[in-house]
Amino acid sequence: MIQHVTEPVLEVHDVTVSYQRKPVLWDVDLTLPSQALVGIIGPNGAGKSTLIKAIMGLLPLNSGYVELFGKSLKEVRHRVSYVPQRESVDWDFPASALDVAMMGTYGQLGLFKRPGARERKLAMEALEKVGMQDYANRQISQLSGGQQQRVFLSRALAQDADLYLMDEPFAGVDIATETAIIELLRQMRETGKTVVVVHHDLQSAQDYFDWTILLNMRLVASGPTHETLTPDLLEKTYGGRLTELSKVSELLHKKNFPIRETKPVRK
């Protein structure tokens, strides 16, 4: 069940991605509608994070291309915002919550320019949106996991983008924070933004998302949530890997085969 939309916000066209010559995502081809809350769902090691990293240009593609708002990432970078996994950074870094939120304004600011009163205000507003204004001057290592997650979110908000890609924003977050975050994401959707979230709780996925992507090394489904979260498709996603796929991946890795004979053509 892979449903495509016309005039997509995001088009992932026949994308294959690998880590150290081992393909972890095979021929993913999907489009996403605008103004939607999208969940990426799948078991551990399914390539969920890999997919959004590939979309953000953080990983080289073995094949295919990604288009955002019908353009390449380079042309529309300021309209896309990324929230990495919380564990991807060292929280002992000497910075305050406000410092991190302010980093969201760096892209607009450009090289050499120093953030000033305007940037400080934007960052403060972003912190307020996630309810962290009282912690603005707190050193980030003194924040709880949920608070750190919210600081990351505020950094993305300070960017004021149209498409947000979030890697497990609910990991290690208590239920009250999770509810607050999802409420915020819904508000963002109402103002016309599209939010893509890597998630792995099936139960809540049903209420959270209006579009769901099911992933397990390959795309199992992409479509409106009520059509994708069916027992049949979930069985396909979670019912073990495709053995052949894993074996071929293993072979490519061991024998050092190129994953594609030619490099992907830039469209």
Binding site: K53, L58, P84, F93, A95, V100, M103, L111, F112, R114
Partner: protein, 430 residues
């Protein structure tokens, strides 16, 4: 004393130059070193420092003179080459980064020593002083050398000033920096180049062997004093500048003495001082905090014991001797004595001929602790399904940390209980 005065007065132009030069070099390497440490590349800095030596020697062998620009160029090239090789080995082989660093460091340094020995035996008279690059000599920082190396140091400081926010971001979160369109590869390259340059200019005063300390130690020490990157960089630079000046002084008073070890020893002392004395993060502060908590626990335990004794008698104003308290609760004698004295001072306990008794304020405080203890016991049995004979130990320590907010929350959860799992009455809030 006279020499110190002579040094401090800076009346000698030579002293002035050497001191300014040393301060500049030390401060600039500390500033760059902050980023090296935060990006967890401290070992790489060490490798670069050692890899600079063959460059110095080769540059001398090719030109036959000690032109600072040429030496700088030579050392820069081999320093850079070592980094490229480390990256190449890590990317294209199974060898991990730490091993690659170890390999490159020793090979480059080995070649450097080999070349240095060859030069020393070549009979070229201009070579004298080249061995200063091993352990450094601040006094050699004069004339052309000072201008060249000082200019590079200023360049380093300016680069960090200009690209402060970019360096901050790539040190904290590289992936995010890439997604907002920063030229991360270029910035990384620049930061690495700055590291190499910092090493190249720093070896004048410290020498290749100890150079990595100049990068790493000030940053590590400064981190203890602050949680702000800007302040950290400033503190690191200040510490380093001070040690640089001290190194110049040593070089000035004892020209035969290698400057590097002196600077590094001083820096290490400053670092050790920071580890111990820094507020909040230092060892001493942490120890004092621990002790304060322990004393507070002792005092609360004494109050609680007096309260429990009163509970059995149903009368709280009674006095108890030390033995009676000890019978109810075993406490180390010395600690109990200290605790009782402190409680007396706080007017929570009063002493009379029969022993110690709770005051009104003391009873209220004791009541609070006992109340938290019993609330927690109840919470454990109801929400964690812990057997009622297992909850006491746990509550003994938790009673000391529960905050008023948590107390309120527990009460709500447990529906304002009146008795604990052992059917003892939970004292109500006064």
């Amino acid at each position: 004393m006279n020499t110190l005065w002579e040094f401090l007065s800076m009346s000698d132009a030579n002293v002035r130059f050497v001191t300014i030069g040393s301060i500049l070099l030390a401060a600039s390497s500390a500033v760059v070193g902050c980023f090296t440490v935060l990006r967890k590349r401290a070992l790489v800095g060490d490798a670069v420092a050692h890899a600079v030596l063959p460059g110095v020697c080769l540059a001398f062998m090719l030109t036959g003179e000690k032109n600072p620009l040429v030496l700088l160029l030579g050392s820069f090239l081999t320093g850079w080459l070592s980094l490229v090789i480390i990256d190449a080995i890590t990317a294209h082989s199974r060898i991990k980064e730490d091993t690659a660093i170890g390999l490159v460091l020793s090979v480059f340094f080995g070649i450097g020593i080999l070349l240095l020995t060859a030069i020393q035996h070549s009979g070229n008279e201009k070579q004298s002083g080249l061995d200063k690059f091993l352990f450094g000599s601040a006094a050699a920082l004069v004339g052309q050398d000072l201008i060249t190396f000082g200019a590079v140091a200023v360049l380093l400081l300016l680069s960090v000033l200009l690209l402060y926010k970019e360096f901050k971001l790539i040190s904290f979160d590289m992936a995010y920096a890439r997604t907002i369109g920063l030229p991360v590869r270029g910035l990384e390259l620049l930061l690495t180049t700055l590291t190499v340059l910092a090493v190249v200019v720093g070896i004048q005063s410290v020498g290749v062997v100890l150079m990595s300390a100049m990068l790493i130690t000030p940053a590590a020490a400064a981190r203890f004093w602050t949680d702000r990157l800007g302040v950290m960089i400033f503190i690191a630079a200040a510490m380093s500048a001070f040690c640089g000046a001290a190194g110049a002084y040593v070089s000035f008073t004892a020209p035969a003495m290698p400057t590097g070890p002196w600077i590094v020893m001083l820096l290490s002392l400053l670092a050790i001082f920071s580890f111990i004395m820094a507020p909040k993060k230092g060892l001493l502060a942490r120890y004092l905090l621990q002790r304060r908590l322990r004393n507070q626990m002792t005092r609360e335990n004494i109050l609680k014991t007096l309260f429990l004794l009163g509970e059995t008698k149903e009368e709280f104003g009674h006095s108890y001797s030390r033995q009676q308290i000890m019978e109810r609760r075993k406490l180390p004698l010395l600690r109990m004595q200290g605790g009782l004295k402190a409680l007396c001072r706080q007017n929570l306990v009063k002493k009379d001929s029969a022993g110690w008794a709770l005051t009104d304020a003391g009873r209220k405080e004791a009541q609070r602790v006992v109340r938290l203890h019993r609330l927690w016991e109840l919470y454990l049995t109801q929400y964690l399904q812990v057997a009622s004979d297992h909850v006491h130990e746990d509550a003994e320590s938790i009673e000391h940390v529960l905050t008023p907010e948590l107390e309120k929350r527990l009460e709500e959860l447990l529906n304002y209980p009146t008795t604990d799992p052992h059917q003892t009455i939970i004292p109500q809030q006064p």
